[in-house]
Amino acid sequence: MGTKVKKGIVYLALILLSVLCLGPFLVMLVNATRNSQAIISGFTLIPGSSLSANWALMAGYFNIFRGLGNSLFIAIFSTVLTGYFSALTAYGFAIYEFKGKNFIFTIILVLMMVPAQLGLLGFYDLINNMNLMDSYLPLIIPSIASPFIVFFLRQYLTSVLPMSIIEAARMDGASEIKMFHKIAIPIMMPGIATMSIGVFIGSWNNYLIPLVLLISPDKFTLPVMVGSLSASKDLTTNLGGTYLTVAISVLPVMLAFMFFSKYIISSISAGGVKE
């Protein structure tokens, strides 16, 4: 009996915590359908009728779908590049014995610990000198070199890919590149998928670098676009439109999460569970 009561309390606390996690989003969705006067006058969970008015106001101010598209474009390309090239690099480190291998790997590990902000100004200066400001290239290309992913995939590869398979394929006359594509990639796929989710989310939510590099508003990513809202006074005085804007920036992620949550969570855990 004592245990049952305690268990009940635990469940209650967990449900409360879940409500706290969802609550702000619920308030956001409700407020997106109400007009400013209603929002100022008080709080309610009953949706209002000003959705289309809020929509018109927001649409007149900027094109949030453009931001969505931009973010999606950058995130997809970054994820694909990171996945492919990290696998390639990890394979190079795991399968071959070459001079300087351990030295190079150690340097990569050391630089993995260096906080990202350290290179920010040098990066900005470099991009400026390369005339790549306001371009997506500096947001996508550097993802080819992702030390942490390489580190993870190398560990992963040594635990899942027996050298004998590679040796056997080599005896059969398979070329090195072909072995990588036909044998290593399929075997590494769960590991790549695990890391890709993190890479995608990281790129999708990246704020500082796009903020620094992007100049023209129609190239803004979603976070930069939403961030620029803080500066615009007329939209911030129209609370309904503001809530709707944030809601639209959040909804695609929530929808995607509803469908993929199981996959996403198990992928995040997979990194830790792998022994």
Binding site: T3, K7, V10, Y11, S18, C21, F25, V27, N31, I39, I40, G42, F43, F85, S86, L88, T89, G92, I95, Y96, F98, K101, L111, M113, P115, Q117, L118, G119, L121, G122, F123, Y124, D125, L126, P138, P142, I144, A145, P147, R170, I201, N205, Y207, L208, V212, P223, V226, G227, L229, S230, V246, S249, V250, V253, M254, F257, K262, A270, G272, V273
Partner: protein, 323 residues
Amino acid sequence: MLNLDISTTEKNIDVMPIKIKRKKSIKDVNRWGYLFILPFLIIFVIFSIYPIFRTLYLSFTNFNGFGQARFIGISNYTRVIGDKLFWSAFGNTVKIWGINIVLQLGLAFLLTILFSDIKYKIKGLGIFRALFYLPNLISVASVAFLFKNLMDWQFGSFNQILVNFGVINNKIDWLGQPGTAVIVVAVVGAWMWFGNSFIVLMAGVQGISKDYFEAATIDGAGRWTIFGKITLPLLKPILIYVAITSLIGGLQIFDLPFLITDGLGAPSGALNTMVMYLYNTAFKYNNVGYSAAIAYALFFIIAICSAFTFKSMYGSSKKKEAK
């Protein structure tokens, strides 16, 4: 290996040339390693290593974003040491991070204990984990903007709810006062990231072999004994990992306080963090050289803190082992 040799002898009567050929080909094959890591190396050197050294160079100049940079020695660094704004930004960052980490890791750890408890056998881990993780997925920009509106003292829903339920009589200006603003940012941060810490810790617990728990239960160990003697020690590496990553991330906190305020760390500069100071110095006041020195100061602070955390956590576990 033995099998392989036999099969080759079966197919080829002349064994010797084949052995030589294989030896040579393995040496050749290993050269492929360079080719495989080459794209990574090129991009890594250009976009990661070079900017770090470029920042170092800039920190010794008075570069202002345009024209020529003039070498001015270590005067940027002496300026950082005497810069009250930098140290107040450091204090703010530590304050925000300190409150944040206690809430975030505390909550994640508590949840891990609950879900791994052998007596309670809490169900629904999948659903709860998903719900707790949700705030992680949404960009900080959206979260900051959402909470800026929710916490607004006049129009925000948070004050309205509190007044409705009679928790407070007068609306509180959460983001307008230094004390509460710091707490709001720390709590919102914890709200965003505790789910992630929880998943990592929980994955660590699930990685521990069930045999340990079963054996301990058969031997009559209580749940607290099991937690203290099995779960905690085996979880230690992951705890260190979570602590250090959140330390590195926390000391670099930027977008949340940047967007939840006016971008300058209002009220009274209480939300001005180190990276925000770095950003504004470079991109608002065009003082790139000085900002680069701030970046290196930040790096040294993070390196010292990480080393300290690692040593204290790792050292204490070693002492226990010695016992």
